[in-house]
């Protein structure tokens, strides 16, 4: 699968309260949550983001709470994938479990600029900045987690195999 869209840049340690503030956690409806995606980091994000766009962040993206409302809000906002130099671990596993594609690359995180056109080949992990012509290889994904993605998430994986 190929993802294509504009880059929205964020810094280091973007926490889950910034991704979806707790004041909106009285629902898990993706259509409600997407209205507030990234609100406390960029109040304009939800109105500016377009389908396919890519979040590019620094280290420790998604730190803090275990709330799956965070990847749900990002996915529902239209974002096709998130690139960061590293992810907080609960956000990392939540993303695989529920099918939000994420990619780790120090170089892509450091070099991609706001608004650059980005193309990501999900199967190879190749990230291409069309605006600058540069390419980056994301860190390889362990085979078990590739299975999760192929099955469409953890619940779908259990439906298919009967176990984790």
């Amino acid at each position: 699968m190929i993802f294509k869209g504009k880059a929205f840049l964020f810094g280091d340690d973007i926490d889950t309260d910034a991704i979806i503030p707790a004041r909106y956690l009285n629902t898990s409806d993706p259509n409600e949550l997407k209205k507030h995606a990234m609100e406390d980091a960029d109040p304009e994000f939800a109105s500016r983001v377009r389908k396919g766009d890519v979040i590019v962040a620094g280290k420790n993206f998604g730190c803090g709470s275990s709330r799956e409302h965070a990847p749900i809000a990002i996915k529902a906002s239209g974002v096709s994938c998130v690139i960061a130099s590293s992810f907080a671990r609960i956000f990392f596993r939540n993303s695989f479990n529920m099918g939000l594609p994420i990619f780790e690359s120090d170089k892509a995180s450091a070099q991609i600029k706001e608004g650059d056109e980005i193309e990501v080949d999900a199967s190879s992990g190749m990230i291409r900045d069309i605006t600058t012509g540069k390419s980056y290889a994301a860190k390889p994904i362990p085979s078990f987690m590739q299975d999760l993605i192929a099955d469409g998430g953890l619940i779908e994986h259990i439906q298919k195999t009967g176990k984790i």
């Binding site: 340690d13 910034a18 956690l25 709330r67 939540n94 078990f144 953890l154």
Partner: protein, 421 residues
């Protein structure tokens, strides 16, 4: 080759005969926990699967503690959804209404989490139970749903970082100050993907309550778990509460750690974390003048009876500063009753503090103590991210209960010595 506590617990809970850090293994879960915010998504996933299978209902725990007593209609509907699921599937460990305590204070108190357990919770502060010598880690709702259905979780085997606190604790220093100091040293991603194993004579001298405070904040360093070896104090706490077998593991002398670090407690004074990350720590003598509008004493981090005693020692005979709201939330009904019996509730009320019910409430900006634009709070909670306790333009500072109580009296972030001298 020697093993760490974390590796021994994983080995006892997996069918994979041999594993090393980085391997992905399936682990049998002793306890699967969720709350009123995370359980609804797990229930939706459970329903979506169509399997309608609860692997072992005795291992499932639901606590409606975050937006309760129901703060609005949407929150009430989320609680109702969990309540209906618990009834339909016969979940016995379901805590609702007057049985509710803040989950990570409640589960140890009820004997539901024990040394040697492998515990997952759809709440990042599930790592609290590491203080009892368990492997406990926060996950998302989908993992939780999977554990409810299969009794298992997938886990990347972590390596362990060791931290040893040597020497004697300085006055008014507790578990909160030690863990803030550690996070200030290694940063909010300093423990990413690792287990923190925390020991040393200063940690051994702490009661279980202060140890739970330390493990609670392992996630604020990005860690998967924060384990403190179980000892006689753990056994004294757990013994009368446990209703099943448990195992107290110790790391082997030749266990492999990715790093070893020692701290001398002679150098650690009461700590304060400045906005907007728990790693922005300073000793109390370096804080300067920070005027505050609100103090919150409570939460899964510092809402236990030992914390309330420390706060009451300082508030006794003193008044909360005019114009400041001091909110005290005993973390469980049992703690509330003890505080009542010991006369602490009266001390708080006479000082001008507000007493609230056991709830996570203000810690995550839910309710019962929301900050206005430009306001500052000092809280004994665990996170000070942007907007954590209310308006995105408010600020949260973190400390232990002693500094929080002293600051409630002076109206600015203060050392307990200032109030007591």
């Amino acid at each position: 080759m020697g093993m760490t506590i974390a590796e021994k617990i994983l080995q006892a809970h997996t069918d994979t005969p041999e594993f090393k850090p980085g391997d992905i293994i399936r682990v049998n879960v002793d306890v699967a926990l969720a709350n009123d915010i995370t359980a609804p998504i797990a229930i939706e996933a459970f329903n979506r699967s169509g399997l309608n299978r609860v692997a072992d209902r005795s291992k499932v725990v639901f606590v409606l503690d975050h937006f309760t007593p129901n703060k609005d209609i949407a929150s009430a509907n989320q609680c109702k959804m969990v309540r209906d699921f618990a009834r339909e599937h016969g979940i016995e460990n379901f805590f609702d209404g007057g049985d509710v305590g803040v989950e990570h204070a409640l589960l140890p108190e009820k004997g539901l989490v024990l040394p040697g357990d492998f515990i997952i919770g759809a709440d990042s502060h599930t790592c609290t139970y590491g203080a009892m010598g368990a492997f406990a880690t926060g996950v998302g709702s989908t993992d939780l749903a999977a554990a409810i259905m299969t009794g298992q979780a997938w886990m990347k085997v972590p390596s362990t970082m060791k931290f040893t606190f040597k020497g004697e604790l300085q006055p008014w220093v507790g578990g909160k100050d030690l863990i803030l100091y550690l996070i200030g040293d290694i940063g909010v991603d300093g423990g990413l993907y690792h287990v923190l194993e925390i020991d040393g004579e200063a940690v051994s001298s702490l009661d279980l309550s202060n140890r739970l405070t330390m493990s609670n904040m392992a996630i604020e360093a990005g860690a998967k778990a924060g384990i403190i070896p179980a000892d006689s104090k753990t056994e004294d706490y757990v013994g009368p509460r446990a209703r099943r077998q448990y195992t107290m593991y110790k790391s082997d002398p030749d266990a492999v750690y990715v790093s070893l670090k020692e701290y001398d407690c002679a150098n650690i004074e009461p700590q304060v974390a400045f906005p907007h990350l728990p790693e922005n720590t300073r000793g109390i003598s370096d804080v300067g003048e920070v005027l505050i509008d609100q103090v919150v004493i409570g939460s899964c981090t510092n809402g236990r009876i030992e914390d309330l005693r420390v706060a009451a020692d300082i508030l006794k005979g003193n008044k909360v500063a005019k114009g400041l709201r001091c909110i005290v939330l005993p973390a469980t009904p049992e703690i509330f009753m003890k505080a009542e019996d010991e006369g602490l509730i009266r001390i708080f009320l006479e000082s001008g503090a507000i007493i609230g019910p056991p709830t996570c409430g203000p810690c995550l900006g839910g309710h019962m103590g929301i900050l206005a634009r430009g306001e500052k709070a000092l809280a004994t909670t665990n996170r000070n991210f942007v907007g954590r306790m209310g308006d995105p333009a408010s600020e949260v500072y973190l400390s232990g209960p002693a500094v929080a109580a002293a600051s409630a009296v002076t109206g600015k972030i203060s050392s307990p010595q200032e109030v007591l001298s």
